[in-house]
Structure formats: C-alpha cells, structure tokens
C-alpha cells in the first residue's frame, strides 16, 4: 500500500497551540510538543494501542470521561489538558494501583535505575503508598527460556511481551494465563519461549519482570555506558547500542532505526556479543612454527612471516569475508592489485557476475529500501529465507502484510517461515531457479494458468509498487532474467518499487563497492579481470596460485566445493588469515593468523543491502594484542613494499571516498548514527551505467519439484541463522548452535522409514554426512534441504545435486 498522506492540524495542549500530523496518537503529538504523558503499555511498534495500563489518561474538552491519550488520534481543534487535578489524581491512582502487587525490590532488580516503572512512580506517583495488604507471590525467578528470566511478581501485565509474540514475531508462544490479579505471562504448557526474536521482550518490558539471563547481575545502570554501533553478524546490519562496562560488552540493545531494523534485534545479534570476551577468541597473532603448530607470536614476527606474500607476486589469491569494512576491503584490493600484482580477489561465494549486469542490478534507481517492503503493493521473496539470511527483514515483511496489506509472494526451493503469511508460495526444484525465472518471464507476457502465471499476474496487476527480495545465491544466469523481469515491471521507474538483494555476507554490498571483486575495481570500475573464488580454489589446487590471503573467511566453513578447497589449502605455500576464531580451515592450514576485530572494536564504514552507508565506531578497546584491520593491512602492505598511506581509519575512509565516485563528498559526520543511503545522494549519478539485459526469446519451462529419482533426492542448501562461529562460542547460545538438520518431505521420510529426529546419513559419490532428520510438511516430495556454514557435516562437502538419504544404523 502506498504511504499515507500527512495532513497537519492544530490542537491545544495545556493552553498552548501545537501542530501535529492528523491521526497521530495524542501521546505522541504531546511528546513532540514537549509535553510528557506517562505510559507503560503503549508501544506503536507493537501495533494498535490496547489502552490497558490507563497511565496516559488525559482530559479532552467535550468528553466527560478521561481518555487514554495512547489510543486517541489528534483532531483539529482538540483541546487537551494534562495538568489539571483530575488528570493528576488519575495518574496518582494508576501508580498506586500498579504498586499494589509490585514487590518494590528495586535494590536487587536489574532494571533499577533504568526502569520506566521507577521513573513514572517518581514523576507521577504520590510518593506515598497506602497499601499494607499482602502482595501476590510466585516462584521466582524462573527461566522463561535459556536466555530470559521471568519474575512474575514484578510484572505489571502491560501486554507488551505477549503482543510482541503474537503480533510482531507471530510465534504465538506467549500468552496470559489465569485472570484478574492472578493473571500471569507464560507459554502454553509452560514450555520454554524459544524463538529467533525472543530477546526483544526483555527490552520491551517496562519493569524488571523479563531480564536477560546473560546480563543478570552483571552491572547496574550507573556502572555502564552505551556505545552506538552496528551489528555485523548478517546483512540486516541492525543498529545496536553496546552496553559497556570496563571495556567489556555486557549487553546489546536495539538502537532503533526505522530505515534499518524498526527497533528489533534477533537473538543472534542480541546475545552473540559474548563471543567478544571468550577464551576461544584469538587475541594475539599466531604463526605456524617448524613443527606445524600455530603458536602465539609478536606482531613483528607475524608481519614478517606474512610479508612473504611479497615473494609470490602475481600468484596470490585473496578472499574477503562479509564482516570486513569497506575500508578493509578497499585496502585489501590495493594490496593485491598494487602490492602483489594480482587481480585474483573475490568476496562473492557464488560465482562471477558479468560487470555490466552487476552494475545494472546495483543501479541506484532500481534499489528498494527496507521501508519499501512495508508499503509495497506486492513483495516477492525470491530464493532467500529472510529468517536465516537477514532475520530482521522477516519481521518487516510480516509487518507489511499485517498492517499495510502488502501482498506477499514467496518463490523458493525450500519452504519459508513466511509461507503462512503469503498469498502465493511457489516451490521450484532445488537448482531449478533459472528455469523458474524463465517461466515467470514468459508468464509476464503470455496468457496461461498455473501458479507461475498467478505470480506473474500478481506482480503485473497487483499494484505498481513491487519489491523483489532476492538471495545472493541465485546463479548469474538467473540474475540476467531477474533484471529483465525488473525492466518489464518498470521497477526502476517507481519510487517505492525495486530490487533488494540479500547477500551472504554482512557487508557484501560495501565490500563489492570497495572493489573486492575479480572483475571490478572500487566503484564498480573496469579493471583487469582476475579469478573468482571457485577459480582461485582450482588454481591454488593446481599450483597456479601459491599463496592465499583470507580476510575473515574460512573456505571450508563459508564456501562450497569443500574438497577442492581442501586441496587448495593443502597445496598453498603460504596462507595468511585474519580470524576471530580458529575454525577448521584456518586451524589446519593458516601459516599466519592475525587476530580479527569484533564489530564493537572496529572503526570504519559498511553498506546495508539497500545502499545505506553506516558507521562502525569503537565501543571498547581491543582486547589482548588485537589491532585494527586497516592498520594490519597497512603494515602488511609495507612488508611487501607498498605504502598505503593510512595512519588512521579516517584516512582509509577518505581514500575510499576518493576512489568510489558515487560516494563523492560523503563525510563520516554525514553518515553519523543513522547512515546515508548513497543511491539517494547526488553523487549516485556517478554510478557507472549497467548493461541492459539482452532480450532473449523466452519459453515456458518446467521448474517444479520432481519426485525422487531412483531413490535419490534433489538437495538444496540453507545456512541457518544460528550457523556462525560467534554463536558457537557464545555460552548463552550454546543451546541453539546449528547442526546438520536434514529437512525431508513426509512422503520421502515415510518411504525411507525415517522418523522425525532420528539420525540419518546423506551420501553422494562416497561422501557421507551425518545429520538429524527433520520432517517438514512444506518440503516438496523429492527435495531435501541440508545445512551449510556449520562446524561439522556441512553440506558444502557435496558437489552435485542428487543425494541419497538413508537411516543410520
């Protein structure tokens, strides 16, 4: 739906005329006019107001009863009084009532000092309670989940957590049980509240009823400082505030940015900060000694050892991982191209996309924003699972459907968590996305029936504002068709329409724009074409490339073609890596390991998938011997004889801005805490034009799932939200670490005699993986889905489409 028009009206609050947008809730209009009205239950992020706490009662002239300002939209000429005696009496009363059952254990409560109930009691309460009756008691605290403790005595039943569960995350786990003053928040049958976004209820809770298990009793509000940052664990790049005490991150809170995260975080982003301060983290440089052991070394020693890259001029391959900043990616590009005479640099795990097509897909006018998802007529989710790939966008899509009537369509091989919200869910066979898109392109122009035609009709006739979210794993051939579809639908011409890529790496977009691609320099400039990730693997395994530089990437964990990479890493004469954790490939093959920064330590910029440049700021000092990435790259460059002229992170940023024409003129101050979408700036005109997609004759192609072939199933892969080293080493998240879950259709499971939860073997050409069977009703017969990105039994060991699944004995 298009964004509503805004009309300004005038109303009077406490004798003062103020302006507000018509339809704004009175409480918000008052806030904008510097009149504070207290409330507990109101939270517009949760949807329609419920008016339950009664804290925000005000007098509106002409209405006999006091009204809840949280649920009263402002009207022109409205006269409101918030300071009259009857309003004060009502506020006093509500505070007194709330404390009838509240234990007032503030001195031992985690919320004490940052508690709305405390603040409002001081601000709007009478300061004296007349309650001497006994209060209600519960066993406390209880683990609502491994991450959240619940203290039901402190709960004021404001509805926020329950509404979050039911109306935002839509997991429908939290409910009210009992009634009246016996009411309490719980789950059906008391099972733990485990859900990808559960941690948000901690932040929503206006009292100390829901507290974070990892944070409980770690600090009081006067011990801590807040430091703004951005989460770099996935491309959603949610804005966060690190709670810092003594240079340690103790907590992560949302730093609401409507253009990015809407004020929500996933549990990975909220709790994986623990990975910053655990023993598994590498905090000194490591160098492999004569006996083959990785041992701590001094920086000099490590830089000298890594400087041997200079002896492999023209024969170094570099991979840049998704958590690198723009500056790091830019400097690595310079190191490779200028210092090591190599063009073999890549950051895209799914194959080279022709430069003209890359540019066309990244064209400023074609980019949809995160907010466009909410107000589009139709959203198509193509070949990606938002819940795993950019979790917070899952919530944004739900919001669009629920509140703005967005029509949602899903086209994917694997069932999606959003299927129940979708008007249309289409399953294509694993590996058949090119065929599916051909069919869709055909259906856009030719009449016909079937679900592809239904989708075409929805995209074509369901309203002009169409947003297509597409996953980076789409093969290059599919992208050419996608571009043609976007052109057919005229997405570039509409403000609220466009494409939004969900890349694999958190900063993949910025890294590409900084030039970490085999066929593009900074700003998608033409450059000498090098080899892409897969070609680097092959060339290294063949001895053509002799040294590897791995910046925040472990090919055995993060990339496909595991066997080839194993051969490459074994054959490489020198492997230099930046890593925070010793994952398999790094531990076994790196000769030099530089300790990597966490996002709380890093200074630099990153780019959101929708083109928003965001700043990473230093929240804590580097632990141990860790040094800034730009600095290490600079020193390494020096060791190979190249002076990058970077003495500060700011200098690196300036070089980047100078090199990327469409960043021209940008300053760190402009980017600030909210970010700047470069496609909206004037400099965006400097983006090199893409090549229009060649028109080809299209035909209708079958792409639907096919039943098993000789007992073999077509395998698709997925990377779970929980599949990351940071999750593995965060103690609080141990319970949710991703493992090999083999998702099977009920029909196939029955045929193979496999039970839900049993151990199965997945075999292909002599390679065998072990996993736990998950029977999922949405999986089409003949398809199976396997996890990648996990520490053990990752599906990246499989090279071909068809696999055999058997029961374990």
């Amino acid at each position: 739906m298009p964004r509503p028009e805004q009309k300004i009206i005038k109303l009077t609050i406490d004798g003062r005329e103020v302006e507000a947008v018509q339809g704004t809730m009175l409480v918000d209009a008052a806030k904008a006019a510097d009149v504070e009205i207290p409330y507990f239950c109101y939270e517009p992020k949760l949807g329609q107001p419920v008016g339950a706490c009664r804290m925000c009662l005000v007098e509106i002239e002409g209405i006999p009863k006091l009204q809840t300002s949280c649920s009263t939209p402002v009207r022109d000429g409205m006269v409101v009084n918030t300071q009259v005696q009857r309003v004060k009496d009502a506020q006093n009363s509500v505070v007194e009532f709330l404390l009838v059952n509240h234990p007032l254990d503030c001195p031992v409560c985690d919320k004490g000092g940052e508690c709305p109930l405390q603040d409002i009691t001081f601000g709007w309460g009478k300061g004296r309670s007349r309650v001497i009756e006994p209060k209600r008691h519960f066993v406390k605290p209880l683990a609502l989940s491994p991450l959240i403790a619940i203290d039901r005595e402190r709960c004021i039943l404001c509805y926020r957590c329950v509404r979050f569960s039911q109306e935002v995350a839509e997991d429908w786990q939290l409910i009210f049980t009992e009634r009246g003053s016996h009411t309490f928040v719980g789950t059906h049958d008391g099972h733990p509240y485990v859900a990808p976004f559960s941690g948000n209820i901690i932040e929503l809770c206006p009292v100390g009823a829901l507290t974070s298990q990892p944070y409980r009793f770690r600090a009081r509000p006067w011990d801590i400082e807040g430091a703004g940052g951005v989460c770099t664990l996935c491309p959603a790049q949610c804005n966060v505030e690190f709670t810092v005490r003594d240079d340690k991150v103790l907590r992560v809170l949302s730093r609401e940015n409507p253009g990015v995260d809407d004020g929500w975080l996933c549990d990975k982003g909220r709790f994986a900060y623990q990975a910053i301060h655990v023993d598994e983290r590498i905090t000194t440089p490591l160098v492999r000694d004569g006996s083959g052991e990785l041992r701590p070394a001094s920086w000099e020693e490590a830089i000298t050892a890594a400087g041997a890259l200079g002896q492999h001029q023209g024969s170094v391959g570099a991979l840049v991982g998704g958590q690198a900043s723009n500056e790091e990616a830019f400097l690595i590009g310079r190191l490779l191209r200028e210092g090591l005479a190599s063009a073999d640099i890549d950051s895209r795990p799914h194959g080279t996309v022709e430069l003209g097509l890359t540019r066309a897909l990244a064209a400023p006018k074609l980019q949809a924003t995160v907010q466009d998802i909410e107000f589009a007529h139709t959203v198509l989710v193509l070949g990606t699972e938002p819940l795993d790939d950019a979790p917070i966008l899952d919530l944004r899509i739900r919001k669009g459907v629920r509140r703005h009537g967005v029509k949602l369509a899903i086209a994917s091989a694997r069932p999606s968590a959003l299927d129940p919200n979708a008007q249309l869910s289409i399953r294509y066979a694993p590996g058949a996305v090119v065929e599916f898109l051909s069919g869709l392109e055909w259906a856009l122009t030719a009449p016909g029936s079937g679900e592809t035609h239904e989708l075409a009709q929805l995209l074509r006739d369901g309203g002009e504002d169409v947003v297509i979210l597409w996953g980076e794993s789409l093969p290059p051939a599919a992208l050419a068709i996608l571009l043609r579809i976007a052109e057919k639908l005229g997405l570039a011409e509409r403000e609220g329409a466009g494409l939004l890529e969900i890349p694999a790496g958190a900063n993949a977009r910025g890294i590409r724009e900084a030039g970490a691609l085999p066929n593009a320099g900074p700003g998608y400039a033409d450059t000498t074409t090098g080899r892409d990730a897969a070609e680097i693997a092959a060339a290294t395994a063949a001895g053509d490339i002799r040294a590897l530089y791995l910046f925040g990437v472990d090919p055995l964990r993060d990339l496909g073609a595991r066997a080839e990479w194993q051969a490459a890493l074994a054959r490489a004469e020198l492997v230099v890596a930046h890593a925070g954790v010793l994952t398999e490939g790094i531990a076994a093959h790196a000769d030099v390991v530089f300790p990597a920064e966490s996002s709380a330590e890093k200074e630099g910029t990153i780019v959101h998938p929708d083109g928003r440049l965001q700043r990473l700021r230093v929240a804590i000092k580097h632990p141990g011997q860790v040094r800034a990435g730009w600095q290490v790259i600079g020193e390494l460059a020096k060791a190979v004889g190249l002076d990058l002229h970077v003495l500060t992170a700011g200098m690196a940023f300036k070089q980047l801005v100078a090199a990327v024409p469409f960043y021209a003129g940008l300053t760190l101050e402009q980017i600030g805490g909210r970010g700047v979408r470069w496609p909206e700036t004037e400099a965006a005109a400097a983006m090199p034009a893409g090549t229009p997609a060649a028109q080809v004759a299209v035909t209708d192609v079958a792409s639907g799932p096919r039943p098993e072939v000789n007992g073999h199933l077509a395998a698709g892969t997925y990377r779970s939200i929980w599949a990351s080293p940071e999750v593995e080493i965060s103690p609080a998240l141990k319970f949710t670490v991703a493992e090999q879950l083999v998702e099977l259709a009920p029909e196939d499971a029955a045929r193979l005699g496999i039970e839900h939860g049993s151990t199965v073997q997945v075999a292909q050409n002599g390679t065998r993986l072990s996993g736990r069977a998950v029977i999922r009703t949405g999986v089409p017969a003949g398809s199976v889905f396997l996890a990648t990105g996990i520490a053990k039994d990752s599906a990246n060991a499989l090279d071909e489409l068809m696999v055999e699944v058997v029961k374990s004995r």
């Binding site: 009863k65 009532f97 009756e133 009246g180």
Partner: protein, 434 residues
C-alpha cells in the same frame, strides 16, 4: 399490567414452533418481511426501546449506526446473562426460545445481516440445548437459512456456549471470546457497530431486547412507545431476588413504583423485617435505601437517584444482614471476575478484596474507610470497560450510606481479634508530649 414477553409464558410446548405459531408466533416476521428494512429500523426507533442488558442504549439508534449495504456484518445476541441477580433471559430462552429467534431474524433483515450468533453463558446448558433444538426447528420450518419465506433474506444462526466468565458479557469481551480469543474487553472506539466481530460491523443486543422486537413489529413502534414512561418505554422483565417473600421474574410496565414491585408483586421482606437496602439493577448498581422505595422504576428516575436500572435485577437486602457482608459478597465476585487487562480494575478490585479481609481480621481502623472510599473513586471512570465501576459504584454507595455501621463492624472485628483498643488521636498526642 400488560404482559408482552411473558404472556402465558408457562404454556407447555411454547418452546416448539406449533404452539408458538398457534399463539401468533412468527406473524411479526411475516409482517416484517413485507416491509422495507429501513421501515423496521424506523419502527424500532419510534418504539423508543432501550437496551435491556444493562447500558440502556436506544436500540433503534444502535441499529442505525450499522453501515448500510452488502458486507460481512454480524448480529450477536448477548445471552451471557452473568450480572448477579439477573435471570430473566434464562426464563425467556427456556420457555419461549422462538421469541428470541424471531426477533433476531427480523433485526437481521432490517440491518442486512446474514450471520448471527447467540452467545450463551456456559452454565445455561438446558437453555442452550433448547435453543439448539429451536434453531434446528426454525431451520426446518424455513424461518432460518437461505431465502427465508421467499423474502430473499438469508440468515445463519449459531448458538455458541461461553466458558464461564462475567467479562464475556461485556460486548467486546464477548466478541473476542466468540473469535476464540481470551475474553478481554477491547478498547472503544471503534465500537462494534463499526468494527466488531472479525472486524466487521456488528450489532450486539441483549436477549430481552431482541425478544421484544416481534412485539414492536406487531404493535407498531408508536403504540409500543405509549407503554411505560416517556424516556423508558415498554415493559421490562425484572428479576427480583434476596429478602422478599415471592422472588422471581416479573414483567412490569416501566414507570411503576419500586415499592409496588418489591412489596406489591414480591410481598416484601419476611414479616418483622424491613428493607435495609436494595440494588435496583443488578449487583453493580449503587444501592438505594428504604426511603427510595417510592421512586418510579424507570431508567431516568433511577439514574437521577444516583443508581441505575441496569439489567432490571432487583436484589433486596433486609435488616438481618450486615452492610459489610453485602459489600464483601459484591467485592469478592468482581475481584474474581476482573479480566486483568486494565490496571484500575485488576488492582482496584483485588486491593479492595484484600482490604475487606483486613477489616474482617480486625486489623483496620475506621480511618481505613476513607481509603476504601477513595480507592473506589479512583476506579470509577478510569477503567477500560465498566467492570471496575461495577464493583466500585455499589461499594462506594455502601461506604457512604452505611458508614456508622461499618465503623461499628470494624470495632467489633478488632474486639474479636483482641486487637488493642483504638485510642483517640488527642490521647496519642498527649502521650507523645510526655
């Protein structure tokens, strides 16, 4: 005394269509189906009938709020009848279910509704069974279903049983419950007539109100309005309980004196007893005293006297009962039934309940009555729905009207508990001066 709804109500077999029809049943429906729908709404408006469930809102006006035209609209009959002292709808549904069904069909025809529900409290098992049978019978007879009597009007009527919550008698709590949710009242606006069941415009009416519709159609709204008083037209089913010699349901013409009801119809308290207080409209109405017995029993007079006609449930309390006992019964009920959604009601009813327990235990002083009264005034008008007020209004009235007796009760309770005797503040000041 005209009997409209309760006319020969005890006739055997009246709950079946043959007897009901022999008595002229469904003739109003046949008449109505010949009229344009707007004309029916106009008749209802002219009749001046006010809602019989408790709020007393004009039915014709409510029906006219409903948007016109074809859309998903609903009618919900509120048969949750859970106000203590109220049992009139039970008798009507049990003995003459077709009166209600006929009223529902006419009302849906007038408002263009094709889906109606009777939300009946779970405890009314017998009545729900009777309604189920009556609905099936009406369907078989062509009064319900597609194209009723060839009029083109269609109606699906569903009897839905509640699970035992007072709050589900509140119209929006009822709608949530009907939708399968926890029965909690909704924030108004939007009112159900605009956005009700499944977010569609919904007319919610009490059993008696809908049951009166056939009478109004038969008589004509103007003639119906001649019964009763100007602001309270028609007859009313009242439930009289408590300390009277002939408790039960009666049909009265609105505007007769309350004394006529309590003494005339019901025989007054047992010999030797006097009326100490009476609830004129269910346990949620502020109490009136013996001196108020000559008040005309109609909506406006009772409102002017500081109470309300409510659901028409008169509870009479004679001088054998203590005011404290009455108050505690009321409080326990509402504290138990508060849904817990809004703060003043949830905590106010709960606090008041604990407060009275403290009085009973001999742990309070007469000064506490001021706090008790102030707590009630903090509840009134500040809640999401009227359940909180439903406790606070009668309790507030009892504290105001029986202050001396309650103070004596507090003293007596302290004595029973062997509490220290209360000392005058003057004495305390004198003591502290030493």
């Amino acid at each position: 005394m005209p009997h409209l709804l309760f006319d020969r109500i005890d006739e055997p077999g009246l709950n079946t269509i043959p007897v009901y029809e022999r008595r002229g049943g469904y003739s109003a429906l046949r008449k109505a189906l010949q009229m344009p729908p707007e004309a029916i709404v106009e008749e209802l408006s002219q009749s001046g009938i006010r809602g019989r469930g408790g709020a007393g809102f004009k039915m014709g006006q409510k029906a006219s709020f409903l948007p016109k035209g074809e859309m998903a609209k609903y009618l919900t009959c509120n048969a949750d009848e859970s106000e203590p002292g109220t049992f009139k709808d039970r008798e009507l549904m049990q003995k003459s279910p077709h009166t209600l069904i006929e009223g529902i069909i006419i009302t849906t025809y007038a408002t263009g509704i094709h889906h109606a529900f009777i939300y009946i409290r779970g405890e009314y098992q017998l009545q729900a069974d009777i309604l189920d049978a009556a609905v099936a019978e009406a369907e078989a007879a062509g009064y319900l279903g597609e194209n009723i009597l060839g009029s083109g009007h269609s109606l699906k009527l569903v009897v839905h049983r509640g699970a035992g919550a007072y709050i589900c008698g509140e119209e929006t709590g009822l709608l949530d419950s009907l939708e399968g949710k926890r029965g909690n009242p909704r924030l108004k606006p939007p009112f159900p007539a605009i956005e009700g069941l499944y977010a569609g415009p919904t007319l919610v009416n009490n059993v008696e109100t809908l049951g009166t519709v056939p009478t109004i159609i038969n008589m004509g709204g103007a003639d119906y309005a001649k019964i009763g008083t100007e602001g309270s037209t028609g007859t009313k089913l009242i439930s009289v309980s408590g300390d009277v010699q002939r408790p039960g349901n009666y049909e009265i013409e609105l505007g007769i004196s309350s004394r006529e009801i309590i003494y005339g119809l019901c025989g007054g308290p047992k010999p030797g007893r006097t009326v100490k207080m009476w609830f004129p409209g269910g346990s949620s109405s502020p109490v009136l005293l013996e001196q108020d017995l000559d008040l005309s029993y109609d909506f406006d007079t009772l409102a002017k006297a500081g109470s309300m006609l409510g659901s028409g449930a008169i509870i009479v309390v004679d001088d054998s009962h203590s005011a404290f006992e009455v108050m505690q019964k009321v409080v326990k009920f509402y504290a138990h039934e508060s849904c817990g959604k809004c703060v003043p009601c949830r905590e106010g009813t709960n606090w008041t309940n604990k407060f009275l327990a403290r009085i009973e235990a001999g742990e309070s002083t007469p000064m506490d009555l001021d706090i008790l009264a102030s707590v009630q005034s903090q509840i009134i008008g500040n809640c999401l729905c009227v359940l909180g007020d439903a406790m606070a209004m009668p309790v507030g009235s009892i504290v105001a009207k029986f202050r001396d007796e309650l103070e004596a009760e507090i003293e007596a309770a302290r004595e029973r508990a062997n509490a220290l005797p209360l000392t005058d503040t003057e004495d305390l000041l004198a003591l502290s001066a030493h």
